[in-house]
């Protein structure tokens, strides 16, 4: 079974997405997940709180990323939302929480059972250390292309 494919949905791939602040971005992306029935109402607040406490910006080479996620109790159905931002948004860097990371690519995770998705998530995160893949993903111009590129990288 290709578990990764089942976590990607065209209506959760956002291209040239615009937001004015990190909080607005997180709230809007969470609302999209909620609207499509993937997460509970509580997810939005939980993801914002967690991002404040444990930031997820990563100072990756090429394209900077952020990977907001939170506890599985806020999730109905697992998915990975991918947002390519029109303008980078400042996230705090994971680990230190001090430096800003101007993130252009957002992977918002809605995960119900971390153990059963660990392989998929590890593969997803393997992109973070691969500058070429990040740039290629960022340059994808259609939703289908994003999904196709992600699948190609991950299988």
């Amino acid at each position: 079974m290709n578990t990764f494919e089942s976590l990607l949905y065209e209506n959760l791939i956002l291209l040239d997405y615009k937001a004015d602040s990190k909080k607005e971005l997180l709230r809007n992306l969470a609302a999209i997940l909620e609207e499509h029935g993937f997460v509970k109402e509580s997810y939005s607040r939980a993801i914002i709180d967690r991002e404040n406490r444990y930031p997820t910006g990563l100072n990756t080479l090429g394209i900077k990323v952020a990977m907001p996620h939170t506890d599985s109790i806020h999730v109905h159905k697992p998915a990975i939302l991918v947002a390519k931002l029109a303008h980078p948004i400042a996230f705090k860097e994971m680990g230190g929480g001090v430096n800003d990371v101007e993130a252009s690519l957002i992977f918002m995770l809605a995960i119900t059972n971390p153990e059963c998705h660990v392989t998929t998530l590890s593969k997803l995160m393997s992109i973070f250390s691969d500058k070429g893949s990040l740039v290629s993903l960022y340059e994808a111009s259609t939703k289908a292309e994003v999904i196709q590129k992600l699948n190609a990288i991950l299988t």
């Binding site: 444990y54 680990g95 590890s122």
Partner: protein
């Protein structure tokens, strides 16, 4: 054969990052033939179990890491930036 060393990786919710870093480190150790047990743990339960590990891999802010344990950063294993350097540090801790 020395006793198997234990490595703990902790992140905020234990949802994704710690497991990923743990499996990455586990693979790297396996490739080098290192006899280790790498575990992803929840930061909330860390205080009660920290004594059981030999090396702690931190993904949360460094200010919270006042454990009296050899500590390395888990971030390089996600970004690949300075990963070798951090892995070498881990290996040094393991042979001690």
């Amino acid at each position: 054969m020395s006793k198997m060393k234990k490595i703990f990786v902790a992140c905020g919710s234990g949802v994704a990052t710690s497991q990923t870093v743990a499996s990455k480190i586990s693979n790297l150790c396996e490739e080098e033939g290192l006899n280790v047990n790498v575990e992803a743990v929840d930061i909330k339960s860390l205080e009660s179990i920290i004594d059981q590990c030999d090396v702690y891999v931190s993904i949360v802010s460094t200010g919270a890491n006042n454990w009296n344990k050899p500590t390395i950063s888990g971030i390089p294993f996600l970004t690949g930036v300075r990963m070798e350097e951090e892995f070498n540090k881990l290996k040094e801790f393991l042979v001690k």
